[in-house]
Structures are given as C-alpha cells and as structure tokens.
C-alpha cells in the first residue's frame, strides 16, 4: 500500500484527513476506504438498476408472484432453461479438457511462452461477433472444414455442422477458452518447483507427480476457470443466434424476445432466473472450494 494511495483515500474523506498524523493506525481501514468508490459506483449504476428491473417481475401490475408461477408450467421456458444449462455444462467441460493442457504448456514452455500467450489472447481481443461469423465461414456446408474433409476423401458429401447445436458448442468453447486457460495457468505457475523435485526424488513417476501434486494444487484455478466459463456461457446470445440450430434458443435470447414484445414482466422473471442460476452456481463453488480461501486468492499467494 503506497503512501500516495493512502493519502488519496484520506483526502476523499474529510474526518479522516483531520486525523492524518495517526494514519498508520488507520491501516486496517484503508482497504475499505479504497473499495468505497467502486462499491458506490456498483451500487448506483448496477445494483439499483438491476433491482429496479427485477422488481418488474413481482410488481406488474401490483405485488404478485403470478409471473413466476406461470414459468412453472411453461414448456417453452423449461425447454429454454434446459438448453441453456446443458450448453453451459458442455461448454465448460469442453474448455476444461482443451484448456488444461494448454495452460500446462504455457507454464512449462520457456522461450515459446510469449508466443503461446499471444495465440491465446489474440482471439480473446477479437469481438465475439467477428469470431462467430468466422465460425460460420469455417463450419458451413461449403466452408473450410467441409471442403477440407471432402478433399481428403474423409467425406462423400458435406456434413451439416453450421446451424446445429454442435456449431454453437464449438464456437462457444473457442470463444471462452481463454477464461479457462488463464486462471489455471496462474495457479500452475505458483506451484513451488521444489515440490515437484521432491516428488521425483521420492520416486514418483511424472504421471503420479502430476496426479498427486500438480493437479490438486491447480484445483483452485480449475474452479475459478470453471466458474467464469459457466457463468459467462449462461448469458450467451449472439453465438447461438448466428451459428446455432433453429431450436437452440437460450435464456438470453428468450429475454431479448420478450423485451422486444414489451412483455417486460416476463422478461424480468427470466432475468431473475438467470441471475439466480448464476448466484447458485457461485454459491456452490464458494461452499466447495471456498471463494475467499481458494479460487480467488490464488494470485495473492
């Protein structure tokens, strides 16, 4: 904590500025003071509007739960919720399976590490929309993938990949991969090398070193990545709309439809469900991994 930031925090709050000579005793308060502006910002510009939006779900026309009750026997909602959760689980598994080895490679590689990082980050910095369109070009009936497989004689006629759930899954896994790789790489990097040498010295094979040392120690990163990817994929809109099949409506697509049709109470209900789902997932992770102690403290270690 630099002096500059401390005195900034003091200046922002007159009573504290008055007790400046005693600023060392305010040490424990400083983080809270520093957190005050962003917290106030989030309250004013995020929490309040979200609450206002959610209140539509129960206040239209007067206090009522009828909109939520209606969801219970709405087959469209059930199908869309299932679509969304299934997609999020699949995409999370896909990014984990593909991302973990890349994270390992990123940490182990020395000279190539900047290049690998660049390859991960370049697409990350590209708009989701552009990448979704790129997948349309790649996966199309006459796209690169099909043409290549036809040319190699692997296929007799083009496969239908674009406009199917598979296309959505492929594109979303690609788009969300960095969110899985980076937290895992972060925990892997912090594993003490002497532990690995000790394991090897005690006769462990590389595989059992990985299984018994590296993997358990990297779990906080896995948890963080899984949480990020899962929660982000719950809200996907453009990608399923562009490359997905005709029946692959996700919750955020349904919300957008309902806003468009001015059914704002219904849209607010759906948003509440989406938000609650995300919160439950975060809560579960907090319970299992310990949010403060595990997943999110990795970089502080």
């Amino acid at each position: 904590m630099s002096d500059a930031s401390l005195s900034d925090a003091g200046a922002a709050s007159p009573p504290l500025a008055a007790t400046r000579p005693a600023r060392l005793r305010l040490g424990p308060l400083a983080p809270w003071l520093l957190a005050l502006p962003p917290v106030a910002f989030m309250l004013a510009f995020y929490a309040l509007p979200v609450l206002g939006m959610l209140s539509r779900a129960v206040l239209d026309p007067g206090w009522t739960l009828v909109h939520f009750q209606a969801l219970g026997d709405d087959p469209v909602f059930q199908r869309v919720l299932w679509n969304t959760l299934y997609l999020a689980v699949l995409v999370t598994l896909g990014t984990l399976l593909l991302g973990y080895p890349v994270a390992l490679l990123l940490v182990r590689a020395r000279r190539m590490a900047p290049l690998i990082l660049l390859l991960i980050l370049l697409p990350f910095w590209t708009s989701v929309l552009v990448r979704s369109y790129a997948w349309m070009v790649l996966l199309g009936r006459h796209g690169l993938v099909n043409e290549a497989m036809l040319a190699l004689g692997l296929l007799d006629r083009p496969l239908r990949i674009l406009n199917t759930p598979l296309a959505t899954q492929i594109a979303m896994i690609h788009i969300l991969l960095p969110y899985m790789i980076l937290p895992i790489a972060n925990t892997l990097r912090q594993i003490d090398h002497s532990l690995l040498r000790a394991a090897a010295g005690l006769g462990a094979s590389p595989w059992s070193t990985f299984r018994q040392v590296v993997l358990p120690l990297s779990l906080p990163g896995v948890a963080a990545g899984t949480l990020l990817v899962f929660v982000l994929s719950l809200g996907f809109y453009i990608t399923p709309a562009l490359v997905g099949g005709p029946r692959d409506t996700t919750l955020s697509m349904l919300i957008s439809q309902q806003v468009d049709q001015l059914n704002w109470a219904y849209a607010a209900c759906l948003s509440a469900v989406l938000l609650a789902t995300a919160l439950v997932i975060i809560g579960v992770f907090a319970k299992i991994c310990g949010l403060g102690g595990g997943a999110f403290r990795m970089s502080a270690r």
Binding site: P75, V76, R79, V80, S127, V128, L129, V130, Y133, A134, M136, V137, G140, R141, H142, G143, R160, L162, N163, I175, L176, L232, S233, G235, F236, Y237, I238, T239, A241, L242, G245, P246, R247, T249, S252, M253, L254, S256, Q257, V259, D260, Q261, L262, N263
Partner: protein
C-alpha cells in the same frame, strides 16, 4: 468482461454494428459499394431539392433515431443534408431505434429522440398500451403523400418487400414461383431459411397460407391453425428462422440454403456482387417503415417539419435512387428514371404481385401468435 452480453443483432462481419432490424442497413454494408460509386458522384446523380415551403423552416435541432447501417448513410444523403441546408434545422442522427427504448424513454420522461424509424405495427402495439407518441401534424405534409401511408401516430416513408429469393444455379434452370414451390422440396431441393419471430418481426404466416393454397386476397384474417399446419410441412427443411436481414443473404451466398425469404433491398447488393441468386416477387409481402415522434420529445415541432420534408417528392426519390425501396409520394415518379422505377416494390407490375402486410391484424394477434410460434418451434 465484455463478452457475451452483447445484444447486437445485425452485424456484418468486418464493418460497423448495424442497428436492429436494419432493414435497410442491409443494403448497407453490402450494397453501398456497388450502388454508390462515390459519395460525391452519388450526390451529383441525385435530383436536388430546390425549395421548401416556409412553414418547414426553423432553427435548433432534431434528434433522429434510425435502424442504422448504410441506410443511415442513404438517409443522410437523401434527407438530412438537404433538410439542414434548406430548413436550417440541424439533424443529429443516431442508430438503434427500438420500441423498447421508446417505451423506457417515455415512461421515465427522459426522451432522447425527437423522431424514430419504426414500423406501423410497432407504433400501434406500443400505443395500445398507453400514450407513447405524438400525433403527426398532417397540415404541413405534402399532398402527394398517399393516404394509405398516413396514420394518426406515424407517417410511412419507405416501402419495401419481404420476398422469396433463390439460388439460380440450384434447380437446373427451373424457376420457382410463389410459396407452393418454396414448400415443394422435392421439385426444388435443398434447405430453406424463413423469417423468425424476433427483433420486431412477425413469423411469415402469410407465406405458410399461400403455400397451403389460400388465395392472396383471403389471407387476412389469418387462420392461424391452417398456417401452423402448413408450417409443419416445411419445419424439418428450415435450417434457420432468421432474425436479422443479413443472415438470409449470407446463407444464399454461402450455399447454406437454396431458397429463403429476404428483404428485397438486400438482394440488389448480392446480385451486384455476382452471386447467382434472384428474387421471385410473386406473393411477397409489401411492408413499410414509418417515422414516429415519441411523446414529450423536446423538438417535436422540428420533428414534424422533418417528417413533412422527408416525404416530399424529391427527398423520397433520392432514397429510391440509392436503394431499391419504394417511395410514398406519388409525385416522386417524375424524378426516378423508368428503368429504376421498374425494380422498386412500388412499381405497378411488381406491386400487383405483392400482398400488402396487414398491420392491423398483427397488432391484434401478434402476442398470441408469437407465443404459439415459440411453443411450436421449441416443444
């Protein structure tokens, strides 16, 4: 983390975000390069607005929300520039016109737009729920604007068609005509795309009825059961229920589908790019966009002047000369060459093949139909 919440609907790959339902935006990214050799040249080729009635002159500004894209560029050339020059009112145009935003603005009394591009259906739907728009000042509107385009809370200013389009290289020279052929996947093979029910669109129940043999003049009031029964027959062949005008033309270009419904303006760009595709005007739907003034708009008087100006003969012609969409002022005919007139949806021999979209029926039935469409598609 800016990734997935993005809600943009219509975007063409490398260029700008086009606002929602950029009917026009469409022609946008694609058409502009082909239709407009250059801004200066295009301007030179357009008829000039030479004088305006004094009553349209004023000062200050008018904030106009459009559907964005290149259509906004077209509108700038056609309307905004001459209006600023001749009427002395500055135009501040933004993209992203949307009924939800109008509702929010009016309800919070924080109206940021003086004028917006919408459809008659959208305006009537919103007006059904409360008082969201100012009545149009028809005292200053040009007499050449036909009565069919006028309604209390808006004035239509752009005529377009939702039509069938197909790959000319897909059927060995056979030419599909009408929706019966579109539904006939044996005679005309290949997959299909049809318009969906999002982004302010209504599902194309009219096409389903025409495919089932209902005569064009008996479509409205729509028999919804018959329409969905007809939809059942094509459902498995439809790979996409598109919600943005960019998609169907993209899918035709990429040979993902052999036939689809499209907005006619987008096809000009496709054909100019050399894609072997054609429009079948027969049994298309004739639709319109309109101007409407949100209730409580600060510059409502200027907005009324702009509405009157943009529907005068010359400004209307200036749009049709840039993008193949029709005009609402009968006097615009004098400013559009015959060969251009012949490809507009308002051309008599084309218009007679089209079915006028019944905004009134859809205002009464949209919510029920959209809910049923969702059920039909998803469960």
């Amino acid at each position: 983390m800016t990734v997935p919440k993005d809600r943009a609907r219509v975007q063409l790959p490398p260029t700008t975000t086009i606002g929602r339902r950029a009917a026009l935006g469409l022609a946008a990214g694609l058409a502009a390069p082909f239709l407009l050799p250059g801004r200066a040249e295009a301007q030179a080729a357009l008829p000039d607005v030479t004088n305006v009635p004094d009553i349209l002159k004023g000062r200050g500004e008018v904030r106009v929300a459009t559907f964005g894209g290149t259509m906004q560029e077209t509108q700038r050339l056609a309307y905004f520039e001459p209006f600023e020059r001749l009427c002395g009112i500055q135009v501040r145009d933004v993209s992203g016109s949307d009924s939800g935003k109008v509702r929010a603005m009016v309800e919070t009394k924080n109206v940021e737009w003086d004028l917006c591009q919408l459809s008659r259906g959208t305006v009537l739907n919103l007006q059904k729920r409360g008082d969201y728009f100012e009545p149009v000042d028809y005292d200053i509107v040009d007499g050449g604007v036909e009565s069919q385009y006028r309604f209390e809370y808006g004035l239509e200013m752009l005529v377009w068609a939702q039509v069938m389009a197909y790959r000319t290289d897909a059927f060995k020279g056979a030419v599909p005509v009408g929706w019966k052929d579109f539904w006939d996947t044996r005679k005309f093979g290949g997959e299909r795309a049809l318009g969906g029910h999002t982004s302010g669109q209504t599902p194309e129940l009219e096409f389903a009825l025409l495919a089932a043999g209902v005569p064009a003049d008996k479509i409205y009031p729509i028999n919804v059961d018959t329409a969905f029964a007809s939809y059942d027959k094509i459902k498995s062949e439809v790979v996409k229920w598109w919600d943005t005008g960019a998609l169907p033309v993209q899918m035709l270009t990429d040979r993902e589908v052999t036939m689809t419904s499209v907005w006619n303006g987008r096809m000009a760009a496709l054909q100019a790019a050399g894609v072997p595709a054609a429009i079948s005007w027969s049994q298309g739907l004739l639709k319109r966009d309109c101007w409407a003034v949100p209730k409580g708009a600060r510059n409502a008087a200027n907005a009324m002047k702009f509405i009157a100006f943009s529907t005068m003969a010359v400004p209307q012609a200036r749009v049709s000369l840039q993008i193949p969409y029709g005009f609402v002022n009968s006097k615009s005919v004098e400013y559009v060459p015959a060969e251009r007139l012949a490809i507009l949806p308002s051309a008599p021999e084309i218009k007679s093949q089209l079915v006028p979209y019944d905004y009134g029926w859809w205002v009464d039935n949209r919510d029920a139909v959209l809910a049923r469409f969702n059920r039909w598609l998803l469960t």
